[in-house]
Structures are given as structure tokens and as C-alpha cells.
Amino acid sequence: MELLLQQVMAGLANGAIYACMALAVVMIYQAIDHLNFAQGEMAMFSTFIAWQMIAWGLPYWVAFALTVLVSFVAGVLIDRVLFRPVQNAPILSQIVAFIALFSILNSSAGQIWDFTIKNFPTPFGHKPLFGGTLIDTHEAGMIGVTLALLGLLYLFFRGTRLGLAMRAAAANPESARLVGIRVGWMTALGWGMAAAIGAVAGMLIAPVVFLEPNMMIGVLLYGFAGAVLGGLTSPAGAVIGGFLVGIIENLAGTFIPYVGRELKLTLALILIVVVLMFRPSGIFGRRVVSRV
């Protein structure tokens, strides 16, 4: 029982990472109606930029704020410049564009900053929380920031006109134009926000997994899994999904025999797929009823 609790807490701590990533994934999905496979690499690149600023002597919070801003702008530019030419192309072709972006970012980061592992500072410190061994201050900070972001996003999407406009533009671009929404700008805004959230996620995750160009690959996958599990229409669901994935992964690794580090991922995915077979819209996703 003690072990179970410990593993659940450890899973929650990991899960905070996945939850943060899942949030960014759902953001972009709400904005553009597909998944951005390069999300993790964008977050990684943003984190490197922050690292570089800190290495140049800027204080942490200044670097943090600047990175979020730069990432926002970069996200908007990536959408307007890179994805504009393929916006009317078949979806599989757009997926290839995402793959290309992934490749470019990963390779460039490796070239500029090389593949040696770097330390990334945390404003929360690594002291154990409440004196126990279950969770430390940084992990608590991660959970806190993720929840705060979630709250802000919820308020934005449900409570503001701009948020409503973005949701409409993603759901039905043609109808959105018919009510006067500038769909192109909404998509770009969505990208910018997703890039900014991704940057925050990256900067929270790096102190735990250490900064190197391949750090986000596994995390992104877990983030996707969490987002899908929670239901892609629900940011809260994505966060919960992320935490669940962390817990499932940890419990599977601890309690199921033969499952070493490598098979943990596969097992987590399989479990998620099984859940989806019974609840196809994810645990919290809203079933969209459409008449044929």
C-alpha cells in the first residue's frame, strides 16, 4: 500500500510534465483542428533560447518572460510563413510539413547547442515538499503552474469574445468567416499561444529531464496520449489525462512483471488505446453529434 501510494505520487510528479505538454497540445488542436507533431521540438528550442539568455547573464524571470514572448511571435510566424502554403493541401501532406519542422528544429538545436546534457535552473528549488520523499518543491511548482495556466485558458476560452472566436474558427472556418471572424489571424493566434505554452512547459520540464535536443520526444508522446485520453476538446481533460498517463506509466513499470523501462511506453499506449475503444472521445471529451 505504501509502495502504491509512493508510485502514484511519483506518477503524479511525472504526470505534471505530461499534463503541461498535453495542455499545449490541446491548445493547438483547438486552434487548428489537428495535432502539431513538432510541438515538443518547439518547446525544446524555446527552452534552449531561455538557457542561452541565462548563460548570457539575464536573470531567470527576465529570460522566462522574454522566451515566452519570443516563442509566441515565433509560433505566429511559423504558422503564417511555413504552414500558409500548405493550408489547403491534403491532411497527410500537412503532416509531412510538421515532420519537416520537427526535423529542422531538432537538427538546428543540436548544431547550435550540441547534444551534451545541460542543467536548467528552477525557480522553485529542489527541496522536498512537506519534508517527505513523495514530491519536491519543483514538482509541486510544476503542478501549480500547470493548474494556473489551465485556469487562465479556461477563462480565456469560455469567458472572452476572442476565445469564442478562436473556438469558432477552429470548429468551422467557413461559418466563422460568415460572422466576420478573420480565421487566418485566429489560427495564427492559436499557434502563438500554443508555442508560448509549450515554452513554459519546456522550461518547467528541463530541470527534471535535463536539457538536450532529444528531451521532448518521449514527453510529447506522453503529452499526446494524455490529451487524447482526456479528450481533445477539453483542456481540463488534457491535464487530468496527463496526470493519469504519468500514474499509469509508473504503476505499470512497478507492478507488471517483465515491463522494463522500454516497454513502459508501449504499455501505457496500449492501456490508453483500450480506454479509447470504450470511450472514443476520451474520458472527458464531448461527443460531437453530427447528423449525416
Binding site: 472566436a165 473556438r167 470548429a171 468567416r177 460572422v179 453530427s290
Partner: protein
């Protein structure tokens, strides 16, 4: 004249769908575009809203709007209820209505207008928090019209409002449209296959055949015409 169209050609890729179409709608008028499937009626509405490649002249209040982006045409006060209604299925009824007022300012007026829509369409009020996709066909049509009205448009474009609806609902809808035109003075251009109802509501009609206007006359005249009666009115 508020809306003036002259010499309009429209194209879907390499295929031409409209040939030298001309008509007009003035403030407060209700006019209808009739014709069989594929005659080009929907294309005309889409052309006005910048959703189709065109050549020719489209003017609103004297301003050339041919080739304008949809969002900009909307801001002139043109509300389009498209074929298939274009409802935001995943959003609630209330959110759909709020979206109609996206280009307007003034929270209180918008809220008042939403209440006015609920007065015209009481069924929607019952379902205000429901996901729009769960509404019946007739209710979705009413929602679509309601959303268009939220713009406080000067011109309302309706594409086959009777499509797929039971006859009683259609009559209800058209009665409401007549009332709205009387109360607010919004002009309407209605594309319809149901010629009987359309001719009752509109004062003037245009008949389209394979992309050309073949008749341009007051409704009474169109309704009395032999060939129209046989082809479109069924008697």
C-alpha cells in the same frame, strides 16, 4: 440601390457557373432567386460573400465589393445563412448567437438582441445551453437565421431555408421571416426550390436556368406564367 449586381460571371475552377447575371435588392425589399438544382442560385449568394471566383460587378451602397474577402463583406451588414445552415455544432445555442454579433460592440445591446431572437424563436430559448448539434433540423435552421439577425444586417441572404424541413415548420419559419422584415426592415434575398412559398414571401423574383437569369419580374407575374407554373409550381 443597396445591392447591385451586373454582368456577373462565376467560376468553380475551370467551370463557369454564372453567365452575365444581373439583379438588385433595395432597402427593405424581399426578393427571391428561383430555379432547379444546379441553376446557380447558391453560387450567386456565395459570389456576393466572396466565396467564389468572380468576374463582373457587385456593388453594395455603390461600393465595389466583388473579390472582397468574406469577413469584409459581412462587416458591411450582409448576413448569409448558408446551405446546410453552417451551425457551430459543438458550441451551444447561446454561443452560436453570440458569434453572430462578433463584429459588433456593445454588450448590453447584444444581450438585448439575443433576447429578441428568443422572442421570435421560443424553441431556441428552451435549448439555449444545449449543444447546437443536438437540435432538430428545423431548430438549427431557426438558430442559423437567429445568428444572422444578430449581426443587425441590412441584407439577409438565405440559402434554401426550407431544405429538409417538415412543411409545418417551413410555414412557421416563413411567417417569422415576414414578421422580421416588417418589424426591422431588413432586406432579404432568398434562394429557394420551394417556389410557392418563396413567391408568397417575396415581392420580386428572378428565375435562373443553367447560370443565366431567364426571368426578372414581380412575384405575381412570375407565379402566373404558364411555363413557370408547370415546371416549378407543379400545376
Amino acid at each position: 440601390m443597396m445591392l447591385e449586381v451586373a454582368g456577373l460571371d462565376a467560376f468553380y475552377g475551370q467551370n463557369q457557373a454564372l453567365y452575365d447575371v444581373g439583379f438588385g435588392v433595395d432597402e427593405g425589399q424581399v426578393r427571391t432567386l428561383l430555379g432547379a438544382n444546379g441553376a446557380g442560385k447558391t453560387t450567386i449568394l456565395r459570389a456576393i460573400c466572396g466565396m467564389v471566383r468572380v468576374a463582373g460587378d457587385i456593388r453594395f451602397d455603390g461600393k465595389r465589393i466583388a473579390g472582397w474577402a468574406t469577413e469584409d463583406v459581412v462587416r458591411l451588414g450582409v448576413a448569409h445563412v448558408p446551405e446546410g445552415r453552417g451551425t457551430f455544432l459543438r458550441l451551444s445555442v447561446e454561443e452560436n448567437l453570440q458569434l453572430g454579433a462578433m463584429t459588433r460592440k456593445g454588450r448590453r445591446e447584444i444581450a438585448a438582441d439575443i433576447e429578441r431572437v428568443y422572442v421570435s424563436f421560443p424553441r431556441l430559448k428552451e435549448r439555449r445551453a444545449q449543444q447546437a448539434g443536438t437540435l432538430s433540423g428545423g431548430e438549427q435552421q431557426m438558430l442559423a437565421v437567429g445568428r444572422a439577425l444578430m449581426l443587425r444586417p441590412r441584407l439577409l441572404l438565405l440559402d434554401e431555408p426550407s431544405f429538409g424541413l417538415a412543411p409545418l415548420i417551413v410555414e412557421e419559419l416563413f411567417a417569422i421571416l415576414r414578421q422580421i422584415n416588417a418589424e426591422t426592415g431588413v432586406a432579404m434575398l432568398i434562394v429557394e426550390q420551394n417556389a410557392v412559398l418563396a413567391l408568397e414571401l417575396a415581392e420580386h423574383a428572378y428565375l435562373l436556368e443553367t447560370g443565366r437569369v431567364v426571368m426578372d419580374a414581380p412575384s405575381a407575374v412570375v407565379g402566373a406564367d404558364e411555363s413557370v407554373r408547370r415546371s416549378y409550381l407543379g400545376y
